[in-house]
């Protein structure tokens, strides 16, 4: 093809790709055209062409950088949040639908709205403690530990929660604070639970998929409200059984828990670990730490995904389904 025709064609394609929003493809064409013009400058004889193409390349690169660097819209309008809340609560259990909806909002990074929803759910006797724990989890995920502590103190000063409920929250938050090395002692009575053995209830259906039996600490002495005592996992220690760090143990705090599924946030810098923990990987040796006891067990990597927006952008979100606890 004639040199001038080729350059013209490349520039035309670049413009068309740009109009399609395919900026990288457009850039490629401009760069290609630029190279040809530079190489055959004497033949082409148009001194204005190269600077013009260079200018377009510069503008395009700036545009690509701007889009890539601009923070993703982390808070979406309320109508979108409503859809997230109503359509992403995958549960057949009417009684937990609102809670699942609020968890979905948190998963989509809509923390303010999620917090609002969890606060409303605290008026419901059956969901009160669970909602309160999720409020704490939201603050922890946002690294707003002082807000988590402040919230607990507010609950402590008010009389909305029963002493045993307050105690559960205190133990839950205190363990997180201790793990993070934050020297803060929450007000409240020391719990005196004696765990005999974790017992397993019948399997249930949640989120449209079969989940493992819910572990119930029904044998915790002195606890009258046993039926809502689903084990809260505050952190996990996983022994890796493959990869370069075979038999290495890694420990992570749990950022969210929904029934059998616990969610961990893994830093983007821990590339080797992210690679090893692929979806479907069976984790044969896991220590599950609850605020009051430690259990051995097994899990499976349920899903792994990169966080696209918010303060944890770039890190990885890992869902582990608890298969077995003993």
């Amino acid at each position: 093809m004639d040199l001038k025709k080729k350059i013209k064609s490349l520039l035309q394609h670049a413009e068309l790709y740009k109009s399609q929003g395919l900026l990288n493809e457009a850039l490629e064409k401009y760069v290609h055209a630029g190279r040809i013009i530079k190489k055959h400058a004497a033949v082409i004889g148009n001194k204005k062409l190269l600077p013009a193409v260079a200018k377009r390349i510069k503008i395009l690169k700036a545009e690509i950088n701007r889009i890539e660097a601009s923070p993703d819209m982390s808070v979406v309008p309320e109508n979108v949040q409503d859809i997230i809340k109503n359509k992403f609560a995958f549960t057949d259990r009417e009684e937990t639908r609102d809670l699942e909806g609020a968890v979905a909002l948190a998963k989509f990074g809509q923390y303010d709205r999620a917090l609002r929803e969890f606060r409303v759910l605290m008026d419901r006797e059956d969901l009160k403690v669970n909602a309160a724990k999720n409020i704490i989890r939201c603050h922890v995920t946002l690294n707003a530990m002082s807000d988590a502590v402040g919230q607990y103190r507010e609950w402590f000063d008010q009389s909305a929660l029963r002493p045993e409920e307050l105690n559960k929250l205190r133990v839950f938050l205190q363990s997180i604070l201790d793990k993070k090395g934050i020297k803060e002692t929450l007000p409240g009575k020391e719990p005196e639970p004696i765990v005999r053995e974790a017992i397993v209830e019948d399997p249930g259906i949640m989120d449209g998929e079969i989940i493992l039996p819910e572990l119930v600490q029904g044998e915790i002495l002195g606890d009258a409200d046993a039926e809502e005592e689903i084990i809260d996992i505050s952190s996990v220690e996983i022994t890796l059984e493959e990869g370069p760090g075979k038999w290495r143990t890694v420990e992570y705090d749990v950022s969210f828990q929904s029934g059998r599924v616990i969610n961990l946030l893994i830093s983007s810098s821990d590339k080797a670990l992210i690679e090893i923990l692929r979806t479907g990987l069976e984790l044969k040796k896991v220590h599950f730490y609850s605020p009051i006891a430690m259990f051995n067990g097994e899990g499976v990597v349920f899903s792994k995904s990169r966080i696209e927006s918010g303060p944890k952008q770039g890190d990885y979100s890992l869902d582990i389904q608890i298969k077995h606890i003993r």
Binding site: V76, V80, E308, S317
Partner: protein, 202 residues
């Protein structure tokens, strides 16, 4: 599986438009919203970021009327196409009943199509679904761009790249003009309802 409310006699089906970034998923929904007013039951909700890229999803509710005494409702979603939005794609895909894979006909997007289809396959697998069994329709979009002199792939090439094994119904389309949009959706609805009938034992 579709959300079936026996008490209210309502069936809610979820159809997801999947495909690489900038392939025209939102344009499909936008066309449906503007031209299928009779079936559309609410506003189209979009979550676009800078550069017209979908952040979370687009959502369009539709109604199909009564089938065997059940009020059948459709929810159309798009997923974000950009590679980095993998987590959201997976969340949107959850409990999907029918799929439209929108492929970009531009020759420069050939590899992106294949990668996106592979991504779909992987995500379905994680939900215990097989891409061979889920109601699926292929749409080869942007056919009109050939008129502007942009190199596009032949339908044979696209079939070979994307549909050789799947053998899903496929349609050439121009979502911007509306060509093939209705046929794609109608076929997907048909396949989804067929699958639903099977599940319901009708």
């Amino acid at each position: 599986m579709a959300n079936i409310n026996l008490k209210k006699r309502e069936i809610e089906c979820k159809i997801v438009y999947y495909g690489p970034g900038r392939c025209g998923k939102t344009t499909n929904l936008d066309y449906i919203f503007r031209h299928f007013q009779k079936q559309v039951t609410g506003e189209m909700v979009t979550t676009e970021t800078d550069g017209d890229r979908t952040l979370f999803f687009d959502f369009l509710p539709m109604g199909l009327g009564k089938i065997r005494g059940y009020d059948v409702r459709l929810q159309l979603y798009t997923v974000p196409g950009q590679v980095k939005y993998s987590a959201t794609r997976k969340m949107v895909l959850r409990e999907v009943d029918g799929l439209v894979f929108v492929a970009d006909s531009l020759a420069v997007r050939r590899q992106k199509n294949v990668l996106s289809l592979k991504d779909l396959h992987g995500n379905l697998k994680e939900y215990g679904l097989s891409i061979f069994k889920v109601p699926l329709v292929m749409q080869y979009n942007k056919r009109d761009l050939v008129e502007q002199g942009i190199p596009i792939m032949s339908l044979t090439t696209m079939e070979r790249d994307l549909n050789r094994q799947l053998k899903a119904p496929s349609f050439p389309a121009s979502a911007l003009r509306g060509d093939g949009v209705g046929d794609t959706l109608k076929t997907c609805i048909k396949l989804t309802l067929k699958s639903l009938r099977k599940q319901m034992g009708w």
